[in-house]
């Protein structure tokens, strides 16, 4: 997996934007790179558990999967146009977003922030 998800809980802890936009959020996000799937469990707006696959029929609210090359470019400190945002990936069909789109829309700032936190050192 290209995304340093094993460090997500640490990176997310105390983040002011997640706190602002994660009001009352409880959900499970499945994140994949075509090879490995990870399950991120969010409770009351905080990243509670991050589980590395293989997962056996996991229950998830939203599934975001992109090729590892797309994630790698997304993670660059200044990503190139078309790779700099989850919706940029979506526009060019580089990411599959499936599941509860109402939840995604209501918490889109939170979800985008969660992925942006994976950029840069600390991994």
């Amino acid at each position: 997996m290209t995304l340093p998800l094993e460090t997500l809980k640490e990176r997310a802890a105390g983040d002011a934007l997640l706190a602002r936009f994660g009001l009352d959020l409880d959900c499970a996000l499945l994140v994949g790179d075509g090879d490995t799937d990870w399950l991120i469990r969010i409770e009351r707006g905080a990243v509670a558990h991050v589980t590395k696959g293989p997962l056996v029929m996991p229950k998830s609210d939203l599934r975001l999967r992109a090729a590892s090359e797309a994630w790698a470019r997304f993670l660059e400190p200044v990503p190139p146009p078309g790779y700099h945002d989850l919706f940029a990936l979506r526009r060019y069909r580089r990411i599959q977003i499936e599941g509860d789109i109402r939840l995604m829309s209501a918490y889109l700032f939170y979800i985008k922030r969660l992925f942006a936190l994976l950029r840069g050192g600390g991994s």
């Binding site: 200044v78 078309g82 945002d85 919706f87 940029a88 526009r91 789109i101 889109l108 700032f109 985008k112």
Partner: protein, 284 residues
Amino acid sequence: MKPLVEPIAGRYLRLELLGRPHRLYVEEAGQGIPLLCLHTAGSDTRQYRGLMNDPEITRHFRVVAFDMPWHGKSSPPAGWQTENYRLTSADYTRMVLEVCEALALERPVVMGCSIGGRIALVLAIEHAARFRAIIGLQSGATIDPYYELDWLHHPQVHGGEASAAYVSGLMAPTSPEAERWETLWHYMQGGPGIFKGDLYFYRGADGDIRERLSAIDTRACPLYLLTGEYDYSVSPEDTRAAAERIPGVKFTVMPKLGHFPMSENPALFLSYLRPVLEQIRAGG
């Protein structure tokens, strides 16, 4: 911090618009050639704060911007509570012409961004003689939808936050953080369903004007198209595809800018806009 009164003046304009009485909020700064600025879908005139505060521009241009009805400090028309707001190309075109007339703007330069950039193309097709020059920011003749509009107006989703989050990635990651969040705040303040209603004409029935572009005569009215490279809603390739159908158009890609150039990074945007305005001014 020393207090500063900006040179922008705001007033309310009462007028008959699209056959109904309206109360519009209009801002302006500067003197000289009228430059009418059109904001993006779901936002308001505050997007042009950088332009109106730039003495180099306001020395020669009277910069005017209005909040479209239902936007910013402009009211919706009486009876709005039973209506489903949906902007059409014809109504938007007529609105621009009627505001120009009401404010007695004589052969203004018109500049619009996003849906305003689309209507700039429509004005170039249909009403070129009425303008000194036309500037389209993030202009495309069609659009490739990549999200469902229904979630922008839904009782279980905060429309302002959702609209802002949907457009947040359209800006360059290098744009100053404070300006990016200012731009998003305008979206968060939008009226319920208004961003979605604006996109009706943009993505709906009259949302593809590719075949009409060859009617643009840039000798009658110069046309400038500027597009930020980080915009994936109207990408540089999208504007280039439109520009290739318009002889004489001047097309510029703006590195390190996105879908809201005048608002996400006013200083950088003005470095691209000033030479364009100089050319327009020299053209008389």
